[in-house]
C-alpha cells in the first residue's frame, strides 16, 4: 500500500464573501499521480496555492508525513519538499536572466555558498537541460524564448529538485503533444521513485495517460474520488460538472464565399510557400507541433509580423496590415495566446477588458458610455459562462480559465470578417470548451474563422477543416469527417514526407 | 607698458576664479566685473565653477594649482572646506584673495561687501521711514552665510528697539525662490494683517514679499526693505505705489573688479590690506523715481559711489572704461 505523503482535511478558504474552498479533504499517496479535475473557477489553483504557501487557509489542517504542515511562504513549502509549477507561465521565469540562471533560481535561494560561479551554474544547468531534453542554449536570455520553452524551464526546474510532493497546475496548457509526452515520461520516472504528484489538467488525453487516481472538484468541494482501474473518466467529469457530458460530433457545414486568400506565403526567406483559402461559414483549425509556425502565421494575419514573400487578400482586396489597429479596421480579429502577456489588462475589470478593442463602438464624441459597455459584457458573460460575481469584478480575481473566456469573448463580442484564435482553449475546462466551441460554430456564418490549436482533440471538436503545419509548410488538409487519425498524427510529427503529395 | 612686473608681460599672467555660487544675477554680474578688470589688465582668466559643491570647490583650487596659475580669486565657499585648499595654494607660491569667505589665512586678503552693513543700512532706513514701533515680518533662512551676517544687524535693531514686534519669520530657498516666498509671505500676511514692515534682506525674498503684498492688497500699508539690487528689482521698486521702499546694495560688478585689482596688487608685490571692503549704497524708491532710473546702467550713472569703488586702485592699475 502506498503511504500517504500529504493529507489535507477540513480546508476552507474564502476571498471576501466568495467561499472558494469548502471543507476540502484530500490525500496524496506516494508514487501516484493524483489528477485534480474541476471546472474553471472550481478552486483548484487556490488549493494549490494553499499547499505551496502562497495563501494561508482560513481553517483546516495539512499534514506532510503525518507532521503538521503550515507553509507561510513558497520558500517554506520548498524547504519541506513541496514543489509547485504554477498555472501562469509568467509566474515561472525571470525573463531578463539567461536560461541557466532560470533553471537554477531555486537552488540559488537555498545554497549555503556566497559566491556563484557562472561556469558551475551553467554546468549544472546543462545537466538539467539534458536530463529534461530541453535542447536550449543555457546562455540564451529567457526573454528570447517562446512560452512553451519558458514553461518547460519552469517544469524542468521543479522536477529535478527531488520533491516529495510535486504539484503541476495545468503544465501542458502551452505545450504541444511531443513536449507533453516528454513531460509524461519524466513524471513516470518520478512516480517510480515514490513522489506524490498532484496534477491539474483539463485535457482528457493527459489525464488518461497519466492518472492513477482522479479527484473531482465542484464549486470548492470535493465531488468525487476515483481510484479503481480502469479509471472512470466519464464519472469524474460528471462529478465535476454535476451532470453528464454528451459528445456532440461536429457536422461540417458547406463553406460560403471565400474571405481570405493566402497565396504563396513564406514566413521566412527561402521557407516553403503556403496557400490557403478561408471561407465564410467555415471554421479552419490549424494544428502542428510546437514551433511549427502556427503563432507566426497568426501574427502575420494580424499585422504583427511581415511575411518574407507572398500576399494576402481579404474579401477580394489586398490585405497587408502594418499593425494590429489596421488589421482590426480591416475586420480581422485576433485572440493571441499567452493571455497574461498578450491579453489581460490586469488593472481593469471584466467590462473594460472585454470591450477594450471596441471602445469606439461604446463612445460618442470619444465619451465612453459605461452602460453600453456593461450590457455588452453581461451578455458575453452569460454566453460563455464566465464564473464571476459580476461584470465589474477585477480580471485578476478570476480563475485562469475564466480569464481565458473573457479574452476569447473580447473578440467574439463584435462581428468581423475573419476571426483568428491562437490557442483559445488554453486552460479552459471541458464544458466551457464545448460552450465556446459551440458559440464559435453557431456564429461562424458571418465570417471566416481560423483556430490555431496544438491539441488534436480541440481541432476535431471545432473545425470544419483541419490544416496541418510542419516546419512552416502546409503538409496536410482534412475535412473533419471520418479523419484517419494515424495519417493526421504522421503529418503533424512530419514522419512521412510521402503524404505531402496526397 | 608702465605696469610693474609681472604685468609688464600681462599676457603670461594666469589667474583663476574659483566659484562656489554661480546661478543668479548677482553672481553673473560679479563674474562680469572680474572679466572686465582682468581684460583691462590683459591677464588670462580661467573660471572654475563648483556650483554650490563645497568639496568640489576645494578640488578646483588644487586644479588651479596644478594648472600653474599665478593668482586665485576664491569666490564664496565654506571656511572649513576652503581653509586647507587656500593654504595649499599659498604654499605653492600662488597669490590668493578671497571674496566673502573667511579662509583664516593672514596671507590672503578678504574682499567683503559687508553683509552686516547691508542689513544695517536697510534697517536704519526702515526706522527713519516708520519710526521705532512696527509689526514686522522677516525673511530668513539660517545656515546661509551672508544671510546669517545680515541677521546680526536684525538682531541688533530688534534689541535696540523693543517696540518692533517680530510677528513672523518666513523664508525658503525652494526654487523659484521669489515664487515660493511669495506663497509663504501671502500666508503670513493673511495670518497677521497688521504687519507694516517687512525686512527681506535678499532681493529674491523682497520680490516674493512684494508679490504677496500686492496680491493681498496691502500695498499701501506695508513697506519692504531689502538688500541687493538688479535691473528687475529697480523695475519692481518703481512700480506705481510699490511697497518696496528701499534696498541696500553693493554693485556686484564693482566687487568683482575690486577682487581682481586686489589680486593684481598682491602679484605686483603690493599690499591691498587684510580686508578690502566695498562699501554698500542705500538706494531708495524716491531716489529711483526722482532720477528716473530704469536699470543698473542708469543707476551707476546717477550714483558714482555705486558705479565705482575707489578701492585698490594704485596709479599703475588700468581700470575698465568708466
Amino acid at each position: 500500500m502506498n503511504t500517504i505523503v500529504c493529507k489535507v482535511s477540513g480546508l476552507e478558504k474564502a476571498f471576501g464573501p466568495n467561499r472558494v474552498l469548502r471543507n476540502i479533504d484530500l490525500e496524496l499517496p506516494s508514487g501516484q499521480v493524483t489528477v485534480l479535475m474541476g471546472a474553471n473557477g472550481a478552486g483548484k489553483s487556490t488549493l494549490v496555492k494553499v499547499l505551496c504557501g502562497v495563501h494561508e487557509p482560513d481553517t483546516g489542517q495539512i499534514t506532510l508525513f503525518d507532521q503538521p504542515f503550515t507553509p507561510h511562504s513558497p520558500r517554506d513549502a520548498f524547504a519541506k519538499g513541496v514543489v509547485t509549477v504554477h498555472q501562469s507561465i509568467n509566474d515561472g521565469v525571470a525573463p531578463d536572466l539567461d536560461v541557466a540562471s532560470n533553471l537554477m533560481i531555486d537552488r540559488l535561494t537555498e545554497s549555503r555558498g556566497f559566491f556563484l560561479s557562472d561556469r558551475a551554474l551553467r554546468r549544472e544547468a546543462r545537466k538539467i537541460a539534458e536530463a529534461m531534453q530541453l535542447g536550449l542554449d543555457v546562455r540564451a536570455p529567457v526573454s528570447s524564448l517562446g512560452v512553451a520553452d519558458r514553461q518547460m524551464i519552469a517544469i524542468a526546474r521543479a522536477m529535478v529538485r527531488e520533491p516529495k510532493v510535486l504539484i503541476l497546475d495545468e503544465p501542458t496548457s502551452s505545450l504541444s503533444a511531443a513536449e507533453s509526452e516528454r513531460l509524461f515520461t519524466l513524471i513516470d520516472r518520478l512516480r517510480a521513485t515514490g513522489v506524490a504528484i498532484l496534477y491539474i489538467s483539463h485535457r482528457r488525453s493527459d489525464i488518461q495517460r497519466i492518472a492513477d487516481r482522479i479527484v473531482s472538484m465542484r464549486d470548492g468541494r470535493i465531488a468525487g474520488v476515483f481510484e479503481e482501474t480502469p479509471l472512470d473518466y466519464e464519472g469524474a467529469v460528471t462529478a465535476m460538472l454535476g451532470h453528464a457530458m454528451t459528445d456532440v460530433p461536429v457536422r461540417p457545414t458547406a463553406p460560403g464565399a471565400p474571405v481570405l486568400h493566402i497565396e504563396n506565403l513564406s514566413m521566412q526567406p527561402g521557407g516553403p510557400a503556403i496557400n490557403l483559402t478561408a471561407h465564410k461559414n467555415e471554421v479552419i483549425a490549424v494544428t502542428g507541433l510546437l514551433g511549427s509556425g502556427k503563432s507566426r502565421l497568426a501574427s502575420i494575419l494580424f499585422g504583427l509580423e511581415k511575411p518574407a514573400i507572398g500576399r494576402l487578400t481579404l474579401n477580394g482586396a489586398p490585405y497587408a496590415p502594418a499593425n494590429p489597429a489596421e488589421a482590426i479596421r480591416a475586420g480581422v480579429h485576433f485572440s493571441p495566446k499567452d493571455r497574461a502577456s498578450n491579453g489581460v489588462v490586469p488593472e481593469f475589470d471584466i467590462t473594460n477588458n472585454l470591450t477594450l478593442p471596441f471602445l469606439k463602438n461604446f463612445s460618442r464624441l470619444s465619451m465612453l458610455g459605461r452602460g453600453g459597455q456593461r450590457a455588452a459584457t453581461r451578455s458575453m458573460i452569460e454566453t460563455l459562462g464566465v464564473v464571476c460575481q459580476g461584470e465589474t469584478d477585477g480580471i485578476g480575481t478570476l480563475s485562469g480559465g475564466n480569464q481565458q473566456k473573457v479574452m476569447v469573448g473580447r473578440w467574439l463580442s463584435q462581428p468581423c470578417a475573419l476571426l483568428v484564435l491562437d490557442e483559445p482553449f488554453q486552460g479552459v475546462d471541458i464544458k466551457a470548451r464545448r460552450d465556446i466551441g459551440e458559440h464559435i460554430r453557431q456564429t461562424a456564418g458571418q465570417r471566416a474563422t481560423i483556430v490555431f490549436v496544438a491539441e488534436i482533440d480541440e481541432a476535431l471538436e471545432i473545425a470544419d477543416r483541419i490544416v496541418v503545419l510542419n516546419e512552416q509548410a502546409l503538409v496536410g488538409e482534412h475535412k473533419n469527417e471520418n479523419i484517419e487519425l494515424a495519417t493526421l498524427m504522421a503529418q503533424i510529427s512530419g514522419r512521412s514526407e510521402a503524404i505531402l503529395g496526397a | 607698458a608702465d605696469m610693474p612686473a609681472p604685468f609688464d608681460n600681462a599676457g603670461d599672467v594666469k589667474i583663476a576664479l574659483v566659484r562656489y555660487l554661480s546661478t543668479g544675477d548677482f553672481f553673473q554680474a560679479y563674474l562680469s566685473g572680474v572679466e572686465t578688470q582682468a581684460a583691462a589688465l590683459g591677464v588670462d582668466l580661467r573660471v572654475f565653477d563648483s556650483r554650490q559643491d563645497a568639496a568640489l570647490q576645494s578640488d578646483m583650487v588644487d586644479q588651479a594649482i596644478a594648472l600653474g596659475v599665478d593668482g586665485i580669486v576664491i569666490q564664496h565657499g565654506l571656511t572649513e572646506s576652503m581653509k586647507d585648499a587656500a593654504q595649499r595654494a599659498v604654499d605653492a607660491g600662488i597669490k590668493v584673495v578671497a571674496f566673502d569667505v573667511n579662509v583664516e589665512n593672514a596671507a590672503i586678503p578678504q574682499i567683503e561687501q559687508s553683509d552686516y552693513l547691508l542689513g544695517k543700512l536697510a534697517l536704519e532706513q526702515a526706522l527713519e521711514d516708520n519710526g521705532s514701533t512696527w509689526e514686522a515680518g522677516y525673511v530668513y533662512v539660517p545656515g546661509i552665510a551672508p544671510l546669517d551676517r545680515r541677521h546680526v544687524a536684525w538682531e541688533e535693531v530688534k534689541a535696540a528697539n523693543p517696540n518692533i514686534v517680530e510677528k513672523v519669520v518666513i523664508g525658503t530657498l525652494d526654487n523659484p525662490i521669489a515664487n515660493s516666498n511669495a506663497n509663504q509671505a501671502r500666508a503670513a500676511l493673511q495670518a497677521n494683517p497688521n504687519i507694516n514692515v517687512f525686512f527681506a534682506p535678499y532681493d529674491e525674498f523682497a520680490k516674493g514679499v512684494k508679490i504677496a503684498v500686492d496680491e493681498a492688497g496691502m500695498t499701501d500699508q506695508v513697506s519692504i526693505y531689502s538688500a541687493d539690487v538688479s535691473t528687475a528689482d529697480i523695475a519692481a521698486m518703481r512700480e506705481p505705489g510699490s511697497a518696496w521702499k528701499a534696498t541696500v546694495a553693493t554693485n556686484p560688478a564693482v566687487v568683482g573688479e575690486v577682487s581682481v585689482r586686489a589680486l593684481a596688487m598682491l602679484l605686483a608685490g603690493e599690499d591691498p590690506g587684510d580686508s578690502v571692503i566695498v562699501p554698500p549704497t542705500l538706494i531708495t524708491q524716491s531716489f529711483l523715481n526722482d532720477k528716473d532710473i530704469k536699470n543698473m546702467g542708469d543707476l551707476a550713472a546717477n550714483m558714482p559711489q555705486f558705479a565705482h569703488a575707489d578701492v585698490a586702485t594704485p596709479d599703475w592699475m588700468p581700470l575698465p572704461a568708466r
Binding site: - | D25, Q28, Q184
Partner: protein, 338 residues
C-alpha cells in the same frame, strides 16, 4: 467580519479626504486667519502652478511613464516668455504660443526618445532635464530677464511684460467677493476638469490606462500605443509650459531657477493622488486633491509660524502616513494572473 471589511473599505476610500477635512478644521481653529474665502483662494493660488504640472505628470504616470523634465520645461517657458517679450519685443500672444509650442515639442522629443529609440523614460527625461536647464541659460548667459537689462550685444532690452501677459498671472475675477479668484486658479481648475474628463470619461483615457497596465495587450487590442505614449508626454510638456507661463506672469520677469522644487512638489502631488478615494493608481482628481493638500498644509503651518524646515518634515510625514494607510489597508498589488 463583514462589518469590519466595510469599515476598512470606507477608510480606504475616504480616509484621505477625512484627513484633509481634519487638517482644515485644525488649522481653522488654531491658525488665525486660516478660515475664509480669501484664504481658501490663496491655497489654490499657491498650488495652482505645481498642480498644473502635476496634472501633466499624472498623464505620463497613467501610461506607466515618468517625466522628470517638467520642472525644467516650466523654467524654460518662464525664460522663453520673458525673452520673447522683453528682448524680442513680441506681443504676449506670440510669447504664449511660442512657449506652448516649446512644451509640446519637448514632449514630442521625450516621447520619440522613449517610444522610437526605446530609451527608458527616467533616462530620457533626465537627459532632457539637464539639456533644458543648460539651454535656457544660454541666450542670456545665465542672467535673469527684465526690462532695461543690459544685452550681451550692448544696449538695453526695451521690451516689457505686456499688461495682457501679466493679467494671466495677476488678474483676479470677482466672485461673490471682489477680486477673489486669480486667473491661475481658474486655469488650474479648468485643466484639472479637462484632464479628468480626458482620462476617465473618454476612450482615449481608458486606452492610456490600458497601456499603462499591459502595453503589449493594448497593442494587440489595436491601441496606437506609441501614439498615446507620445501624446502623454506632449500633454505633460504643454501643461508644464503653461505652469511656466503663469509663473512668469506672476513674477513679471524671467527668473533663472532650476525648477527642481517644482518637479519634486508636483511629483509629490501626483503620487499623493494615488491615495485619494483609494484609487491606488494615478488619477486627475487625486492629483488635484494632492496638490491642494500640500498647499493647505504649508499654508496652515506658515500661518502658525512654523519654521521652514518643519514644513518639509511635516509634508513628508503626512505623505508617508497617508500612503501607508492607503496601500497597507487596500493591500493591492499589481494584478497577478493565475
Amino acid at each position: 467580519m463583514q462589518k469590519n471589511s466595510n469599515l476598512i473599505h470606507f477608510a480606504i476610500r475616504y480616509g484621505f479626504l477625512l484627513l484633509l477635512a481634519g487638517l482644515v478644521l485644525y488649522f481653522s481653529i488654531f491658525a488665525p486667519g486660516f478660515a475664509g474665502p480669501r484664504s481658501a483662494v490663496f491655497v489654490f493660488q499657491s498650488v495652482a502652478i505645481t498642480g498644473i504640472l502635476a496634472l501633466g505628470v499624472t498623464c505620463t504616470l497613467v501610461v506607466d511613464g515618468f517625466d522628470l523634465s517638467i520642472g525644467s520645461v516650466a523654467t524654460s517657458a518662464l525664460m522663453m516668455s520673458a525673452y520673447f517679450m522683453v528682448i524680442l519685443e513680441q506681443p504676449a500672444w506670440v510669447a504664449v504660443l511660442a512657449c506652448l509650442a516649446m512644451g509640446a515639442f519637448v514632449g514630442l522629443v521625450n516621447g520619440l526618445l522613449i517610444v522610437k529609440m526605446r530609451v527608458p523614460d527616467l533616462l530620457a527625461t533626465l537627459g532632457m532635464m539637464f539639456l533644458l536647464i543648460g539651454l535656457q541659460r544660454i541666450p542670456t548667459e545665465g542672467r535673469s530677464i527684465s526690462t532695461g537689462m543690459a544685452l550681451p550685444g550692448g544696449g538695453n532690452a526695451e521690451g516689457t511684460f505686456s499688461a495682457a501677459f501679466l493679467w494671466l498671472g495677476r488678474h483676479r475675477f470677482d466672485f461673490f467677493l471682489e477680486k477673489l479668484i486669480p486667473v491661475p486658479v481658474i486655469i488650474f481648475v479648468l485643466l484639472g476638469v479637462l484632464i479628468w474628463i480626458f482620462l476617465h470619461l473618454t476612450r482615449h483615457g481608458r486606452l492610456m490606462y490600458a497601456i499603462g497596465s499591459n502595453e503589449r495587450a493594448s497593442e494587440l487590442a489595436g491601441a496606437n500605443v506609441q501614439g498615446y505614449k507620445i501624446a502623454a508626454y506632449m500633454i505633460s510638456g504643454v501643461t508644464a509650459s503653461i505652469g511656466g507661463i503663469l509663473l512668469a506672469a506672476r513674477l513679471g520677469r524671467g527668473d533663472v531657477a532650476s525648477g527642481n522644487n517644482l518637479l519634486l512638489d508636483s511629483v509629490a502631488a501626483a503620487l499623493i493622488g494615488f491615495a485619494v478615494l483609494g484609487a491606488a493608481k494615478p488619477n486627475a482628481f487625486g492629483t488635484a486633491v494632492g496638490a491642494i493638500f500640500v498647499g493647505i498644509l504649508l499654508q496652515g503651518l506658515t500661518m502658525m509660524n512654523a519654521p521652514y524646515y518643519t514644513q518639509d518634515f511635516v509634508k513628508g510625514a503626512v505623505l508617508v502616513v497617508a500612503l501607508v494607510f492607503t496601500f497597507a489597508l487596500s493591500g493591492r498589488k499589481r494584478g497577478s494572473g493565475h
